[in-house]
């Protein structure tokens, strides 16, 4: 099976308010078709890990590879495209765009990607 997501020697520190080592030497591989969940008590760094794996956060040591591409080497624009095409987000809080309808909220990434015509994206 193809390896989709891989973290190598991932280390993450918070510096404010005091230095704190959140993620310690994380090595992780997720394969195509696999369903993975990360479980832990609150404050253990689940969200922080996901932010790093999903390319939003890039201030860590080590490597995150997505389809064998090192995320840190990509420009902002390429990352935005990658997120748009390949990553779906459901945030912990209700992160929805308040001014848009529910349908629009779901459609927005598709609109950006522009690979489906509007009617189909709306269906």
């Amino acid at each position: 099976m193809k390896k989709v997501l891989e973290a190598k020697e991932l280390n993450k520190y918070f510096y404010k308010p005091v230095e704190f080592h959140v993620l310690k030497d994380i090595n992780l591989s997720v394969y195509s078709g696999e369903f993975a969940s990360i479980v832990g008590p609150s404050g253990s760094g689940k969200s922080t890990l996901l932010y790093a794996l999903s390319s939003l956060d890039r201030e860590y040591q080590g490597q995150v590879l997505f389809n064998d591409i090192e995320l840190k080497t990509l420009t902002n624009e390429k990352l935005a495209h990658l997120r748009n095409k390949s990553i779906g987000f459901i945030f912990q809080f209700h992160y929805l765009l308040a001014d848009f309808t529910a349908l629009d909220n779901v459609m927005l990434p598709g609109l950006k990607l522009g690979e489906l015509p509007h009617e189909e994206a709306g269906r």
Binding site: A80, F89, Y95, K112, G114
Partner: protein, 419 residues
């Protein structure tokens, strides 16, 4: 929609905060309206004045400048390099302000293809009397047909006709202000006294109202012959030649040419009205300063509203970025919002500006003063509308770009993590 994924966001943002959108649009609208109205009124007044001036003054005026001092005669004997000459109290030679061979000059001028009309004239100060009323003014001796071709006097006649100046012996045409102060009407007989003490009985054959107050209050026309009688000079005596050109813009260069060719002072209409043009220049500077400050204020208004909106929409920006909208997309969203506000606000401003200008132009104002005119003359030059619109777009573009740039720099992780 596919090609413009941000368009939906822009429209949603603008329509979900209608009041904010309308307030910032009103800022632009107000600025553009004032721009259109003020520019229209000021330049309309100026154009009206320039047109009146062009119609009632010659494009080129040839005369002998009496104020030129004659150089001391000693200069003929001693050269400047060797000798210092100091002659106090130099006075001009006692020369009449006559144009020698004036009528020949007129003929030469008429052969120029650029010249559309030439009118020789002579003028003198005179006192106009009727009964006990007397008023001083300037009497112009003219060939009325030629003068009419230059200045279209016929059109400005309030009563009487210009042609009676030729048919009535001792006929005179008075400016409207002059006639009013004298209390004369058509066909009254008045006495004209020259500085030399010669008095002539004259019959009022017309009253003229050019709309230029200064002229109407002091100027009178009569035939060349009668004026020569008043001045006690011979039949070839003329003091001024007025010239109209096919193309007004050539007046400067042709004036120089005539000056060197005939040896008399040739003044073009811009020189003759220099005072007014410098007033206009200052007026224009003030107008543009006011307009620019209004646009600056509305620009800051847009800047403020967009900055606040971006602050409110930090979360939206973070979400949009995490679902794949690039920095440039985000910048374009806010820039486009500013430009749409500028575009619509500007468009409405143009319409309101036009309507206000139009209403003003049909309300009778009866201005009396510098110039008299029944209506306010307003310039509807499309160039102003274009300029105002471009100004508005540029102002909103700049005002929108800065907050939009800031929005594009937002790092989504900082927003999301801080929740």
């Amino acid at each position: 929609m596919n090609r413009f994924p941000i368009l939906k966001i822009v429209i949603t943002h603008l329509t979900s905060r209608k009041r904010q959108t309308i307030v910032s649009m009103l800022g632009v609208t107000f600025g553009i309206t004032v721009f259109i109205f003020q520019a229209g009124v000021i330049t309309g007044l100026q154009d009206f004045f320039i047109e009146k001036t062009i119609n009632s003054t010659a494009h080129i005026h040839i005369f002998q400048n009496k104020n030129q001092k004659s150089p001391p005669v000693l200069r003929n004997v001693y050269s400047e390099d060797d000798t210092w000459i100091s002659v106090p109290n130099i006075k001009s030679k006692n020369e009449l302000p006559k144009l020698k061979r004036g009528l020949q000059i007129v003929e030469i001028l008429e052969s120029y293809p650029e010249v559309s009309g030439v009118s020789p004239s002579l003028s003198t100060q005179a006192i106009f009397k009727i009964g006990v009323a007397d008023i001083s003014g300037i009497i112009n001796g003219v060939d009325i047909r030629k003068e009419n071709r230059l200045f279209d006097l016929e059109q400005d006649m309030v009563s009487g006709s210009i042609i009676r100046l030729e048919t009535v012996n001792n006929g005179i045409i008075l400016g409207s202000g002059l006639a009013e102060s004298l209390g004369t009407v058509l066909n009254d007989n008045i006495t004209v006294v020259s500085p030399g003490g010669i008095a002539l009985q004259m019959k009022v054959v017309g009253v003229l109202d050019t709309g230029l107050r200064d002229l109407d209050d002091s100027r009178a026309y009569c035939s060349i012959r009668n004026t020569q009688k008043l001045m006690n000079v011979t039949g070839s005596y003329i003091t001024d030649i007025n010239i109209k050109l096919e193309d007004v813009d050539q007046s400067g260069t042709l004036a120089r040419e005539f000056e060197s060719r005939f040896g008399y002072t040739a003044e073009d209409w811009k020189q003759a009205n220099e005072g007014i043009f410098s007033v206009f220049r200052i007026q224009n500077i003030v107008t543009y300063l006011v307009i620019i400050s209004i646009l600056l204020v509305s620009g800051f208004g847009i800047f403020n509203i967009l900055s606040m909106m971006i602050y409110e929409k930090m979360n939206d920006i973070a979400i949009l970025k995490s679902i794949g909208y690039t920095d440039i997309d985000i910048r374009n969203v806010f820039l486009l919002e500013a430009l749409i506000i500028g575009f619509l606000g500007g468009l409405i401003g143009l319409v309101i500006g036009f309507v206000i200008s139009w209403i003003t132009s049909i309300i009778p104002t009866n201005i009396e003063g510098f110039v008299s005119s029944e209506y306010l003359n307003i310039n509807f030059d499309p160039a102003f509308y274009l300029l105002a619109f471009i100004f508005g777009l540029v102002a909103t573009g700049i005002a929108g770009y800065l907050p939009a740039k800031k929005a594009s720099k937002i790092d989504p992780i900082n927003i999301i993590r801080s929740q």
